[in-house]
Symmetry: C2
Subunit: 361 residues, 2 copies
């Protein structure tokens, strides 16, 4: 056991963590080939340092499966298809399985046609959006992912009721010698999780992060946590979230209206009907791939060499911190907060797959 950023953590080897989570998911009824993908996607987030999208979610995934809110078996149905497009119904299977197959189909179509979009409905939480956009990188493509409301966290500008989500989206773009550029962002200034952390520490938060549930300014993290997240850039972030919601849910037939949106954590026996949109653009249809990569490297280097503010050690490109965290944690093991570790340990015991502590200690 050790300390990481002041939190008590256990460092766990990546492969062991994937194996253990995979066993949990098979214990909960998934087939092994699919369980390993879901486990890998969650551990991928922990490797990137995005703990909120990592193995911390394993217990609620299992809870949703056990309560039939999410089905352990994924039976994809292609509703509509052309050379450049497809619409898939995930029939309430695991988000990662549906999304991996959808992005794979999208890439195969873009390989032939240069450009493709694949929409999905009837899906569930899929982990980090960049897990799928990054699949395009090795094919010399730009990958895009848009995902739709799964919780009621934000209000439209001028509104004071949370009827929108901070819908995440991602763009992944290959480079040459430098790291790829990967944007993966939600449309709120910060996540609800970050406000929760401030609440636990009893720290005041900037009033740009959230408002109270009644629409008042607040620096109180508890009021903010139970309040309404504020969008990036005010009406601009509100606009972005509407667009991402339309692309991923209205275009696909996913849940759109606040009355249709079931909460991931609390409505565990209800189908969420999450929609996603995956896109891929083959770079050499526009410009020679090597030229593109060379120009990417030049751009990246110019940005990294920008004059720095005092106390700034390094300027990072989108996604760079996550790639560097992953490289570090591959070596050191992944820092898993003690509470998350204990929850997994307990879950493993209940599902008769043995203790996590037996694996890591």
């Amino acid at each position: 056991m050790s300390m990481d950023d002041g939190k008590k953590v256990v460092y766990i080897n990546k492969d062991k963590l994937i194996d253990y989570c995979c066993s949990i998911f098979t214990g909960a009824g998934m087939v092994k080939e699919e369980a390993v993908i879901v486990a890998d996607s969650l551990v991928h987030a922990d490797l990137a340092g995005m703990e909120s999208h990592g193995v911390i979610r394993v217990p609620v995934y299992v809870k949703r499966i056990e309560n039939k809110g999410t089905f352990a078996q994924s039976t994809l149905e292609i509703i509509k298809e052309s050379d450049t497009t497809a619409l898939i119904d995930g029939h309430n299977g695991m988000g990662q399985i549906i999304s991996g197959k959808a992005m794979d189909l999208c890439i195969r179509k873009a390989e032939k046609q240069g450009v493709a979009f694949v929409g999905v409905r009837g899906s569930n939480h899929f982990g980090m959006a960049s897990y799928y956009s990054e699949m395009a990188l090795k094919h010399g493509m730009i990958g895009m992912v848009f995902t739709s409301p799964a919780a009621l966290l934000m209000a439209p500008t001028g509104g004071i009721k949370p009827i929108l989500d901070n819908n995440p989206f991602s763009f992944a773009i290959p480079s040459g010698e430098e790291l790829p550029v990967v944007l993966d962002m939600a449309t709120s200034v910060v996540s609800r999780g970050k406000i929760g952390v401030a609440a636990k520490k009893g720290e005041k938060i900037p009033k740009e992060w959230a408002m109270t549930i009644d629409g008042y300014e607040t620096e109180d993290p508890a009021a903010a946590f139970n309040g309404i997240l504020l969008p990036v850039g005010g009406y601009k972030g509100y606009g972005l979230t509407v667009i991402v919601g339309i692309l991923s849910a209205v275009l696909t037939g996913g849940s759109i209206l606040s009355t249709d949106i079931k909460d991931f954590y609390t409505d565990v026996s209800e189908k969420q009907n999450i929609g996603h949109l995956f896109g891929a653009v083959k770079i050499d249809r526009f410009i020679d791939l090597n030229t593109f990569k060379k120009h990417m490297d030049e751009m990246i280097r110019e940005i990294k060499n920008c004059k720095k503010a005092p106390n700034v050690e390094e300027i990072l490109l989108p996604g760079e911190r996550e790639f560097k965290n992953a490289a570090k944690y591959e070596v050191t093991g992944i820092p898993v907060p003690i509470q998350v570790y204990q929850d997994l340990d307990k879950l493993g015991q209940r599902l008769n797959i043995g203790f996590l502590r037996a694996v890591v200690l």
Copy 2:
């Protein structure tokens, strides 16, 4: 002459304003068929209430043409083409002409193939991005526009030198009985123009808008105007601007590095080599268009009916204010600030096309 928001303005009939600007552009060497398109795009921005992208730009357009920074004749060359993609070199012609033709080509390809992207290099300022994304609406398509650096206004997060632009982008999405949803945003919290207005009025600005050229916090609009714009949501807006820059410039061969970027206003004899990317997605490849429109209307109505903050009269969707301004100004005439009116008047006199005042008074 009248007052609008405290500014002295002249109300000018839309068609008369287009005709007059068209005459100015033909006087500067453009052919009539193209001059009318450029004039229409600028007046379109004024109609929308986006004065900064409107006829206020006519004098600098003419100055750039006269100094050969932009060519009056647009000779497009298709460098690369497939059923779903194209790359066009605009050979430094007028941005509006190149962009209109590029988006038109993109829509024709998406009509057949469901999805298309058309990239452009060698272009110039094209007015409002939504002028082109909105072209997709009547074809039952979602339109997308991304455009690339044309000025050095922002720094990467952690940096204190303006080496990036607040690259705008737009998504336009059709609806049924409600107005279409049109997002058209730059990646900075506010435009430099808005800071300029505060400077003229001598008003303090929020410190979230910009920093000084040396990277310090500021509420002084003069220091901010000559400083560095701040991105929406901090590192998120920085990430967005990098992605929009890559899609529009690295993918197309437009200017990327800060050393290659020529300023629209000051480098009037230098080619800017602006890149754009236009995209179109045919909705009925995914979902029946009427169902889509019905769901759009439902979503729009839910948002508009959200509980309002005190003093908020109406909740608006992205683009709604602009559509409503246009409807109003079609009737009242377009409020043109007196200074802009006088500059156009003077320019018309110099180009021997007569006085604007003769047209409107």
